[in-house]
Symmetry: C2
């Protein structure tokens, strides 16, 4: 078993040197905090990961959840985890002081989540989902709903979920058929089926609180008729006791990976006795849910990065200790074999992983910083960071998801045959990480969100702000001799991005939405690579500043390693944009023209 | 469960229209055959796949092999499979008539193997390995070894294996430590450990015949001291009875996938009573083994393509029947949802799979054709096809292995959440196919084989022959208006390949082997994409010829589909060479310069 799942040094580099979280303590909202406290929080998170989550990473996989007599049974540690996360304040780390939360900057709270996800993704999902659901109630629910549910959720007693998907409505939520019938008793009667609900039922908590999409009878067709309901597994009766609310776990899926967390099928209101409470206004459900969804999407990116990070350290450890072969320039078979990390091709595989995971982690921290800016700024300045976060969300979700798979796969490859066997954790990471391009909106959906919505929203204002951010970084990097080359390359890529975007938008006008969005997934990939190059240049800036300020000797290998990884990204990854740009500038709409009959035979 | 795992139409297109297997019947060696017979063989292979192999595809995965009291227990069907394959002549389909074989052209025999692998890769491995091992004995073993072992192997009574890997010697075979002590009784006493031996022990046969690498005491260091031995699990005593030969299954690996076939750890000669018989001359073992290894490498490519093909048809079936969402140009939610195959992004994912699998299958058939040419030609002409096969082998092994994973992953993605659950076969294909970039020489090893050996062998003669083949195809394609554009694009790519190759070879001279081979894996990818583009152009030629000759109406959708897939490959896949060429022409040797210390922290 690998012994390490994150790099504390890299976390601190991003938090303090690249994104300067300390600078936020000058704002009123975060003024109670300081670096010493952040360090303590980090240390506690790593310890919790090491002591509680990481040791059962394999065990939770090998003993997957099962449905027994209508109750989903999970690993007994889940109960402990929910309790510890509740008591330790981890579910309420982002919650304001006046609600008994820790009011931590998102940058710090998110990096803690990253640590937990790296230690054990399945385990971290339980409290993570609970926070998201409680935040939705806090944001849009009534005081009564808040008082009844949120404290129990934050304490880790009750699980929270997001219940969207149905058998016939996955990517297309407009087709949900779960119905809500109004009553005059303050609640609605809910009836329907939900599938693929993460942590949708389990015996590690005493209750499960579903934030559920449903349609009120007579609602308009499509997404404009969707409302949000709070539907608990057990409701509180007049005597204050928990009683069944007619929400039944009817199945648990057996999955490729991510087996520590049950994905549940729910039958709701089979006995016509399921009560749901409207959250916010009728027919606005999807808008509300998108708050949780957007958080969840960034959470998926975070989890994907974390998982790939843990896989990287496992493959690094193996590569440092496994002896095999000799250097190509000294192939004498009587010489002892070398550690495989000596081989250029293995270093390439390790560098690929680092380039992906540390680039993605930087982007996620960048997103967290934009969230923090929104907490402390107002008006136009706040709106700016809101728009930047909007345009970055599909990238922050999909790049780590897609490239995380490639990264873990290269990690597995470093181990050769051992990577394919369950004596090492790589095969589990490989199974686990395949979920990410699927849940919380597939990569295809993210591509359409980026090109079909975010890029063109508000006359392209979000894109313009994004371009400005990159220009600022490029200008700053040009001040450093070691970064000039990379700054110029990013600048060229940015020009290409603008050119491609203009071309695609012109297609939208001429040929309609099908042709416009046919290659949205490729556009997403193209946009993402440039975004991660930007993040690497930002990291390069921090390194150069540190070196100019006389870095400590013990940090030199770390900084040199960063510069090698930056060089790697620009030499091996950024050139992938050339092929993507060629395709995106090509006007052959073959995927639109091809018909299903052409797939016969 | 999907109902289809190959396309008979596509198999016949490749066999008859693209590679014209019938033309080989004019040669003496294949003169007994004709198309009608080939069709019967294909039909029989598909039926065997459908009736015997495909139905237990999941079952063999869910009931993986276990070691029980020193005996590996496998699915009971394995015994039936070995018997049926023996009796049906499938293990000896390539064997000459005078050895009671079928003497089928490789093109036909290999496509049958493809069909079996698509139906159930694990199941097909047992007879496949047995053929390879028996072929090795036939090629290099004594008459006595042949008579004792080969007939029983071809009958499906005895399993054959290739036993190379050891705990400390995987990619680097020069470090094997299994020893062979000569005796004056005609055999050697063998002692050592082997790991990762496919079908290395099981209860579906009465004996297992290992073709094993070992070093004779006092042999030179490195690969020049490796000899090849036949080491049976049970040897024949003086009374003609099978008795233990001191080869013990000491472990069976639990793997990510490919679970229907056991990968075994062997302890050899623990009681000092293991007898091995030398195959061929001493110290020439690796050379002999490379015959089986090269066949096995192409076999891996074939298996990877087959698996991805089966996954493609499963995802196609789902995409045709799953209803979700509406066309982007008609989003009215009151309209009924469409099958997801109507969405351009889904068509793109299906086209990607087709472009990969049908391109790879074409390359594999091309390799088979080169094998057939070697059977019927002599002298320089024979040597030409030998060299072409040499240079194509690393590509035929690695492109399907690496891209097969991407292809299956896109297949899984078409199914969304269902693709991640074991109610559908995609998750199993996804696990199964990850073995291919590892076994029979990792992708890294293939890259070094291509650039460090094949490209420069005989003063670049193999490369020259390859370039000529592509030139011929390009010239032929330019005669067709519909292919001109693609012919020109392939021509440009070929120029780029020559430029990159010259650049890399110049590095070899200036900076030594480390820098030369540092990006061999990327060079392999670059070379492979161009090779598959060539194969698509060849397929395009066959389509255009068929259309010019007045194709049947029922074939038009098939031919149009082929042309769409060709367009896809040139529009989406070939441009990937741009980024690869940029990197390969870049002189920054960062993976050589970076040291292991830079991976600290």
């Amino acid at each position: 078993m690998a012994t390490r799942f994150v790099s504390e040094r890299n976390i601190k580099f991003l938090l303090y040197e690249v994104f300067d979280v300390e600078s936020f303590t000058k704002y009123e909202y975060y003024s109670e905090h300081n670096r010493k406290m952040f360090d303590m929080v980090l240390k506690a998170a790593i310890k919790l990961g090491q002591d509680l989550l990481f040791p059962i990473f394999e065990e939770m996989d090998r003993n997957q959840p099962e449905l027994v007599n209508g109750q989903v049974k999970v690993h007994p540690s889940v109960k402990t985890i929910m309790q510890e996360f509740g008591e330790g304040g981890w579910i309420s780390s982002r919650v304001p002081f006046d609600q008994d939360g820790e009011q931590l900057p998102s940058m710090v709270a998110d990096i803690c989540e990253f640590i937990f996800a790296a230690a054990n993704y399945s385990a971290h999902a339980y409290p993570g989902l609970t926070f998201g659901a409680s935040h939705l109630i806090e944001s849009f629910g009534s005081t009564e709903l808040y008082d009844t549910y949120v404290p129990r959720m934050r304490a880790g007693d009750w699980q929270g979920t997001m219940a969207l998907t149905e058998p016939e409505a996955g990517s297309s939520l407009s087709d949900i058929t779960t119905m809500a019938e109004p009553t005059d008793e303050g609640f609605y009667r809910i009836k329907g089926q939900k599938i693929f609900i993460s942590a949708g039922d389990h015996d590690g908590v005493e209750n499960v609180v579903h934030l559920m999409l449903a349609k009120i009878e007579g609602a308009p067709a499509g997404v404009k008729g969707i409302s949000l309901f709070l539907v608990p597994k057990k409701r509180i009766d007049d005597n204050g006791n928990l009683v069944s609310n007619d929400v039944v776990a009817s199945g648990v899926y057996h999955k490729l990976g991510y087996r520590g967390c049950p994905i549940v099928q729910l039958s709701i209101g089979d006995k016509n006795d399921c009560r749901g409470w409207l959250v916010g206004e009728p027919h606005n459900g999807l808008k509300y849910m998108f708050q949780m969804m957007n958080e969840a999407r960034i959470g998926v990116g975070m989890g994907a990065t974390a998982m790939a990070t843990a896989a990287y350290y496992a493959s690094l450890e193996y590569s440092k200790t496994r002896l095999q072969g000799r250097n190509l320039s000294r192939k004498d078979p009587t010489l002892p074999p070398v550690a495989i990390i000596e081989h250029a091709d293995v270093k390439r595989m390790l560098l690929f992983q680092r380039a992906v995971i540390e680039g993605a982690q930087s982007l996620l921290m960048q997103c967290s910083k934009f969230v923090d800016f929104q907490k402390v700024l107002d008006g136009e300045a706040k709106e700016k960071y809101h728009l930047l976060l909007e345009i970055l969300t599909p990238i922050a979700k999909s790049y780590p998801s897609e490239m995380g798979i490639q990264s873990v796969s290269q990690g597995l490859q470093c181990l050769g045959g051992s990577g394919y066997c369950d004596d090492y954790p790589l095969e589990q990471y490989y199974r686990d990480c395949r979920i990410h391009p699927i849940h919380e909106g597939t990569t295809g959906i993210q591509g359409m969100d980026l090109l079909g919505r975010k890029v063109i929203m508000k006359d392209g204002q979000a894109l313009l702000l994004y371009i400005n951010e990159l220009h600022d970084t490029i200008a700053a990097a040009r001040e450093f001799k070691m970064l000039e080359k990379f700054a110029n390359e990013l600048s060229e890529s940015l020009t290409s991005l603008q050119e491609v975007t203009r071309h695609l938008v012109s297609i939208a006008g001429q040929d309609g939405p099908e042709a416009f969005l046919a290659d949205a997934t490729l556009y997403l990939e193209f946009f993402s690579i440039i975004t991660i190059a930007w993040q690497w240049l930002l990291q390069g800036l921090a390194v150069q500043k540190a070196l100019n300020n006389g870095a400590k000797k013990k940090d030199l290998n770390f900084y040199d390693g960063k510069m090698f990884t930056l060089r790697y990204f620009f030499a091996y990854e950024l050139p992938k944009t050339l092929g993507l740009a060629k395709r995106l500038m090509d006007a052959d709409p073959l995927t639109v023209e091809m018909q299903k009959e052409h797939f016969n035979d």
